[in-house]
């Protein structure tokens, strides 16, 4: 019988693949579909997977439904970019707007473990002021959560993932030492360092969710550089190898290769379970609570697709904001060539970082901030960057590509402003399950453009100061996505409250990057996991008070 994870679910018959032992299995509790579990969670990424773990450990019965495969990294992951596109979301979505997004590898995973299976492991905390962006900094919206509460949850997540970071982190308020020490910085990272020193700003080795020393069954990183194609070393501390094994051990069930098509609600307007497609037919899992954690495109898509006569605009959408305020992050870059050999394909892509422009407000003609990091693109990514970024083809492209081992770059993760016109809606086209696909509309605003211009100017100077030449700008790239089910303390202006509980349907929760009111100038994964930990604690408190 085929063990192809693309076709045949692996998590069943009372067991799930053991990600640490080739061919091994771990026992998995299974729930009957007609058994009303406490929580059905749609999605097993940074939000859903973390929440599944914490709820199961708190004693709740949890079924986490994942649309795709439960990988065995040691056996399934090949050292090949093209093959490993199997980790990305490759079902169709339409993009439009003035600045259509590039999806796929940049931000959308289709694995048990979500995008954390292919992410670049950059693990950063929000700047505290960002939680009150409107009141303190004059843009965006306030979060209904206090930064000091988040600080406590950031501690927990960093410990759970054994983040490898610098002994002293130059930015932000006091924080505990990272659990593991930083990785060695490769030549590409040292170019960032030299540039930063020349520009008079601080830099640091990037805090990464991959271990620099052994951790339980994870060996330390071998610097193979295929991080965004999936870590076959198991050094990367993805949700798949951290929270989910804990979740399984605590009695959660992971149902893989199960695409949720609808969240069902009863006549009283309460969620009663999820309709999902698995092994050739539609099924239904009853649940007392439903958590939607499909990330910023699939979450609103599911809520909109679950419309009923009672909720004609989709679930949890009395505010009309489901799908709106989509925010990606600017991902522009400058690239150059050096006489030195850089060979940036070695090691994780972003080994050095500066968050200077996240914490410095003077000298900016824009709201928000950005961090920038060193880069290490593998061949197909690099070729596509040269081709799409500069329009190169023919001999000109081949000549540039030959300089592969001498190229070096700096790339931002830049804050973009929430705008209601940036949104996820349903298209007319249907996917292979008969469900309407998403249309993702995006346009930059002036603030976005000013931030991008500032960053390209600054990074260009830094790269030049570090000794690179033939510097060019990659002007159109974005990454990550958030905001389409924002949290707030006013039901008319938000979809969920601070506990990630939807205003409209008491037992419908949303726990992923969709809930961000603002996106900040740092990669979102650590914050999503921290929110999930907080949500789990809040659920426990509410349950104890009978308010669930």
């Amino acid at each position: 019988m085929s063990d192809d994870p693309l076709l045949v679910p692996r998590a069943r018959h009372g067991r799930a693949p053991d990600v640490f032992r080739p061919g091994g299995w771990v026992p998995m509790q299974q729930y009957r579909e007609d058994e009303e579990v406490d929580f059905a969670i749609v999605g097993t990424g940074a939000g859903g997977g973390t929440l599944a773990c914490r709820l199961a450990e708190a004693g709740f019965s949890v079924v986490a439904v994942a649309s795709k495969k439960k990988w065995r990294p040691l056996e399934d992951f090949a050292s090949d970019e093209t093959e490993q596109t199997k980790l990305y979301w490759t079902d169709e979505r339409i993009v439009d707007g003035a600045n259509p997004l590039q999806l796929g590898s940049n931000n959308s995973g289709k694995s048990v473990g979500g995008s954390t299976v292919h992410f670049a492991m950059v693990s950063l905390r929000f700047r505290p002021e960002w939680f009150k962006a409107r009141s303190k900094l004059g843009y965006g919206a306030d979060w209904p959560i206090d930064w000091q509460e988040m600080w406590h949850y950031y501690d927990e997540v960093e410990q759970a993932l054994k983040i490898s970071g610098p002994v002293r982190y130059p930015w932000g308020p006091k924080r505990p030492r990272y659990p593991y020490r930083p990785h060695e910085v490769n030549a590409a990272g040292l170019v960032l360092a030299k540039g930063a020193e020349a520009m008079g700003i601080e830099w640091a080795p990037t805090p990464l969710a991959t271990v620099s020393a052994p951790r339980d069954l994870s060996p330390p990183c071998v610097y193979r550089g295929f991080c965004t194609s999936g870590c076959s070393t198991n050094a990367k501390q993805s949700v798949l190898i951290t929270w989910l094994p804990r979740a399984l051990a605590a009695g959660a069930e992971i149902r893989d290769l199960a695409m949720v098509g609808r969240v069902a609600v009863n006549d009283a307007g309460r969620a009663i379970g999820v309709e999902y497609h698995r092994e050739g037919r539609w099924r239904f899992q009853r649940a007392r609570n439903v958590v939607v954690a499909g990330y910023a495109i699939e979450t609103p898509r599911l809520l909109l697709n679950s419309a009923t006569p009672r909720y004609p605009d989709g679930l949890a959408n009395s505010s009309g904001l489901v799908g709106k305020n989509l925010m990606v992050q600017a991902n522009q870059a400058v690239w150059g060539v050096m006489d030195d050999e850089i060979r940036s394909y070695k090691g994780p892509p972003s080994l050095a970082i500066t968050e200077h422009w996240n914490y410095e407000d003077r000298g900016k003609d824009f709201f928000g901030g950005y961090a920038y990091m060193s880069q290490g693109p593998l061949p197909t990514l690099w070729a596509n960057t040269e081709a799409s970024g500069r329009g190169l083809w023919g001999q000109a492209l081949m000549t540039e590509m030959e300089k592969y081992n001498h190229q070096v770059g700096l790339k931002i993760v830049g804050e973009m402003i929430p705008q209601e016109r940036n949104r996820v809606t349903l298209a007319d086209e249907k996917d292979q399950y008969g469900l309407p696909i998403s249309r993702v509309t995006y346009s930059w605003c002036d603030n976005d453009r000013r931030l991008i211009a500032h960053s390209l100017r600054f990074m260009g100077q830094a790269l030049e100061a570090a000794g690179a030449r033939d510097i060019w700008r990659q002007e159109d790239d974005t990454c990550h996505m958030n905001g389409t089910a924002r949290m707030g303390d006013d039901p008319r202006r938000s979809v969920v409250n601070a506990d990630c509980r939807s205003w409209d349907i008491r037992n419908l929760w949303i726990c992923d990057g969709s809930v961000f009111p603002t996106v900040g100038g740092v990669n979102p994964s650590l914050t999503i996991q921290a929110i999930a930990c907080r949500t789990a604690d809040r659920i426990r408190t509410l349950a104890a008070r009978g308010e669930l």
Partner: protein
């Protein structure tokens, strides 16, 4: 143009700790891909072969990377990127239309099918497509510039650099599991990485690359 990494071959490391079993399987399958089209028609394939020869020109002194076959394979599998521009039709339809439209432009402007044109003329047609100046009926409203950037250039380039021969050209370390890399600093290479030829000393690099394992 002289090779930058003479004698370097990623495939020479197949049985070293740099490759694992699943990687060998995947690369073997890619190398064994049939050269004939499975999805495109013969005509469409001929056009694609000619286009690929201009977009990613290859030296004549080595076995060619079967770019067209790789793209055809992607179309056969209907393996999309997970998103498409609103103004573009889905993957297969976009390619069929685009190949037909480019060929049509060649016939109308130059009286020959695209694959029979000489290289400079082919380049001119492609440039026109890239700049959005082609808008014949065969496009059926699909913007030629979008087709060029989002499909033609992208899929061809991704296909080319998915092949081990291209990795040798650019000196990429190739597959790397379980063995990754030790020396990550400036001007450092591990003995299993490609040695770059210096202007004065190609033979030394060739010697080093023979020992890559």
């Amino acid at each position: 143009m002289a090779e930058r990494y003479p004698g370097y071959d990623v495939l020479a490391k197949r049985h070293t700790p740099s490759w694992n079993e699943q990687t060998r399987r995947v690369i073997d399958a890619r190398l064994a891909l049939p050269r004939e089209p499975r999805f495109l028609s013969e005509d469409e394939f001929r056009t694609l072969v000619a286009i690929a020869a201009r977009v990613v020109p290859q030296p004549a002194d080595r076995p060619p990377i079967p770019v067209a076959a790789l793209v055809d394979h992607k179309l056969e599998k209907n393996h999309g990127d997970g998103y498409r521009h609103a103004a573009l039709p889905p993957l297969r339809e976009a390619w069929r239309r685009g190949l037909g439209a480019i060929d049509q432009e060649a016939r109308e402007a130059h009286k020959q099918p695209f694959h029979r044109l000489d290289a400079p003329t082919q380049d001119a047609v492609l440039k026109a497509a890239q700049e959005g100046r082609l808008a014949g009926a065969a496009w059926q409203g699909m913007p030629s510039a979008l087709f060029f950037s989002h499909r033609l250039l992208r899929d061809i380039v991704l296909a080319y650099y998915s092949h081990p021969t291209s990795w040798n050209e650019i000196g990429f370390g190739g597959p790397a599991s379980p063995r990754g890399y030790v020396r990550m600093g400036f001007n450092r290479r591990d003995p299993w990485e490609a040695a770059e030829a210096r202007e004065d000393d190609e033979a030394a690099a060739r010697q080093e690359n023979k020992r890559v394992r």
